[in-house]
Symmetry: C3
Subunit: 401 residues, 3 copies
């Protein structure tokens, strides 16, 4: 018996108007939040981490969202695997440490024990008819893309490989499989997760809300992306080894994946996303120089990466409750970079730290206003096409189940 | 698409018995609380403040209740106006400061900007077909009665003017339009807002619960309002310039307004609501002396004023959540009174501060008892007719939508 | 009008499979929690305390669970009585002190006053037709079994007397009516109450989770209860005055009571549930020596007692909210025992304190795992028959109303 969708889900979806914000109930109703997790998040590919977190067999870490928990581990054969962190006996979490190394996952309640392939070892006092092979940990689907780990906990996962193959040559020069984590941070926001995603999906708010970002990033004003700005970036990019392409793969039918890749220019004087414009860390991958640009890389609506020439910023929006979301950010540098010698952590994280503090505030007051009974969804601007893309993907996803 | 009323609303209303308390679900069900706000509060006139808070054009303050927020401001023409604090774009709160002075309300998210008349100025990147005149701030209905500001956020507001005109000559001698705020306080109570209103609506609890109040106010014992007590008050009142009338305008049909005015005696030795009986502040308005009485003035069930000869106490009960309510009290004195010279703040606020502390406790334990599944609504006493009037008004209001 | 059961209750009950854990909604849905209290707890016999807490007429104490509150008192005739702590007027709690002595229960709101028999005394301003005899406090059913007080707040209580009579001779030697409270403690757990009950109902988790308990108590491994272990306990038990019987009265039809009595052996070297095995307090009742055993006594699923030769540990699981439960433990010693002289409090409480700390943790992570949408109830082991007995009792109880 699974959780039933809200009885009026069809009517709710039908009440959404293209080109306008979503109606209030999508942000205020507990049953819709539950359905969001069961029908959308649990059927999405979620970026959970990077292979550098689990180099050795038996290494593992947990990724939690909403009420869900996943174990990501490396087995004896060296393969990265993901399991639902739920004991198949009476449902206890099997693993309670955020990360570690183990030979077996032993449930702390009744000691049911699972190996690194998720197989149940024995089963005390279960009687002669018990078949342990029927009670392994539930597997989650998993893909490693250039070192980044994506997981889908559904029994049937949306197609992802076509898009990944399309993106692979574009991402290759950045050497994403050779990164280390320089810093991780979580910004809790008292708002529904969708308001946090919407915030990321458009740069209409950048000019009024993000003064520091807007000083360096031309995305805040598409009209400013003139040939004067674009051409030098393209020339330098080619010289540095970057392919010159935009990829935008929209929804592929039934709650398919979205993929997006675009390199766009920083304003003159900025080589990377730093306060002064000067470099922050060693060049990534096979790059031979700074092109004065940055990359928006999106792999599924929920997973976003900003790739500068010398560092990567990963962004996700983790639901915790109906109106509680964690904005999680991970800063990566080249795998051999050393803090102090090759980069300064405060300088590296400055831009997206201050930007996230701004976002925390505006997402919060967005939720406060949407909570009002008289809220009426207004029209989207021309710069908010990404918000509409998210709505389309989301509404298809929740309506599909 | 608006929030639907609870499916069993008719049955619930039908389960209420005249002369008895309301059944448990009215105080415990989240969907009824949501309906209370959408169908009752948002269609009621709410006392939000006094003109003395916004003397100049561009002055504004916010009034929040439940999930709702209102901006009250004075425009260039000098008129007091009220708007819903919701951006017409994606719903952010437009104003986040509790009070201030501004030329424009600029939404902190995408910088949509509204003038003091609520009109949207422009609208960046909205395309050629966008008509800003369709996206002004929603207006709330507003009345200024003798300086007191009342607001109704509904599209169609209940009739209020007949009652206000009826009350105007009675209130005139007190000069309510010439007041200043001496003190404001908020008493949070973990109880449904209706239990707080009910508490105010009857003085059956005064004798057992409010020792200090009962020492001076004859309302705690209607039998004590003998001619011995009433006649001197009326004589002195006439001499001081007070009309001698009782006004009680009950529900006027469809969720109409209630109005109530009555002057009743303090016990001998008390000129005002002070600990010793002696005056607290300069005489209000055109009064020429103390009559030994005090006024109950009610303008709509939700808005209550106690008018002593030398100060006014305003009372409201602001819902915050299903079982969380703020009792908000504002103490007013004559506009030219100065703290220290003309009144002592601690002495002025003593009575209704200690009385509210008592109420906090008894309203809380009322909610605790009502939460029990076995609670059965009991019979109202003869002193609780005001509670019944509230029930009638409330049940009509929530059943009407 | 009472709270309606969840609309899909039949389907939910039908989705439960014998021999498997309960499905997720039973631990996550607020409406099921409400129904649990209304249909199961309020129709169960609940162990609330011991007569030693109210020796004199007028003595009283409160027992609270979920939103409910009970007054347990001793009247002038010396009888122990229980009332619902709800004023029959507008529902306030009548009594707000956790314990005390009084002549009358006077409601703090409007001063309705009830005598020790629950009768309403008068009723101010209620008019000539008011009949106070109709508005006494609601009575709860009450039984005193060997000094232990059991209460059922339902109008019709499940049959309990047959089972109590059956247990009485077995309990007699322990002199439970002559006890004093040595210590009380509450262990709050962020989990549904049913997970706390399930935890108590099986010792499958004892070996992996409770190292200290497992050192001394053979229940952790039924295979270890060999004649070598059982026979000496029975011999010593008979010598000490203990009857040698097992009583297991399962569900008697319609949500009947469960009764269970069994004495089982401690491992060699342990005379009682102490860290070293040595005695903790004076022998109970008429016992003449230690038999090396301990008793599981269950009176209704919700009420559990461990009777050692020299102390008693009472256990209950008090719901506070959907996923918040207090594990309440009371340690009793013989009525004339004195702390310091006859027992050491820290030594006495050591075992079940450390055991409860373990349980706190595993019940919490059980809830965390069950909260996941992909949780599927797994098979129970042969040592979890008590969990199935609880499920049967519970599902019959909630389906019955």
């Amino acid at each position: 018996m699974t959780t039933a969708p809200p009885a009026d889900l069809r009517d709710l979806i039908g009440s959404c108007q293209s080109g306008f914000a979503l109606p209030r109930p999508f942000y205020t109703r507990p049953d819709i939040y539950e359905h969001d997790i069961a029908a959308y998040w649990n059927h999405s590919w979620i970026w959970v981490g990077h292979v550098c977190q689990i180099p050795e067999p038996g290494d593992y870490f947990l990724f939690d969202y909403a009420q869900e928990s996943l174990i990501i581990t490396r087995n004896r054969a060296g393969d990265v695997c993901a399991y639902l962190n739920i004991c198949r006996h009476r449902g206890s979490r099997v693993c309670t440490e955020a990360h570690g190394n183990t030979r077996l996952f032993v449930c702390p309640y009744h000691a049911w024990s699972y190996d690194l392939n998720g197989q149940l070892r024995g089963g005390r006092e279960m009687g002669p008819d018990f078949d342990p092979s029927q009670y392994g940990l539930f597997k989650a689907h998993l893909r490693v893309f250039e070192g980044m780990i994506f997981v889908c906990p559904a029994e049937v996962a949306p197609e992802i490989d076509t898009g990944l193959e399309r993106l692979r040559p574009l991402a290759a020069p950045f050497g994403l499989d050779n990164l280390r984590i320089a810093h991780s941070a979580s910004y809790p926001v008292p708002a529904n997760w969708k308001l946090a995603v919407e915030n990321y999906m458009e740069c209409y708010h950048c000019a009024p809300s993000h003064k520091d970002y807007s000083r360096s990033h031309s995305l805040k004003d598409p009209a400013s992306m003139t040939p004067d700005l674009l051409d030098p970036m393209r020339d330098k990019g080619r010289a540095a080894g970057l392919p010159d392409q935009v990829v935008s793969l929209p929804n592929t039918g039934d709650h398919g994946m979205n993929f997006y890749y675009r390199r766009y220019p920083l304003y003159p004087g900025y080589q990377t996303g730093s306060q002064t414009g000067t470099p922050l860390a060693p060049l990534l991958g096979t790059l031979t120089g700074y092109d004065g640009g940055t990359t928006d890389l999106q792999i599924g609506i929920l997973n976003n990466f900003l790739i500068y020439s010398d560092h990567v910023v990963g962004y996700r929006f983790v639901p915790r409750a109906l109106q509680q979301t964690d904005i999680q950010i991970v800063w990566y540098v080249r795998g051999d970079a050393q803090e102090g010698r090759d980069y300064d952590r405060a300088a590296l994280t400055w831009l997206w730290h201050v930007t996230s503090l701004d976002d925390e505030r505006i997402i919060r007051i967005n939720q406060e206003g949407v909570n009002a009974h008289r809220f009426v969804p207004g029209p989207l601007s021309q710069m908010e096409w990404g918000v509409q893309a998210f709505y389309d993907h989301y509404l298809t996803g929740i309506g599909h189940r």
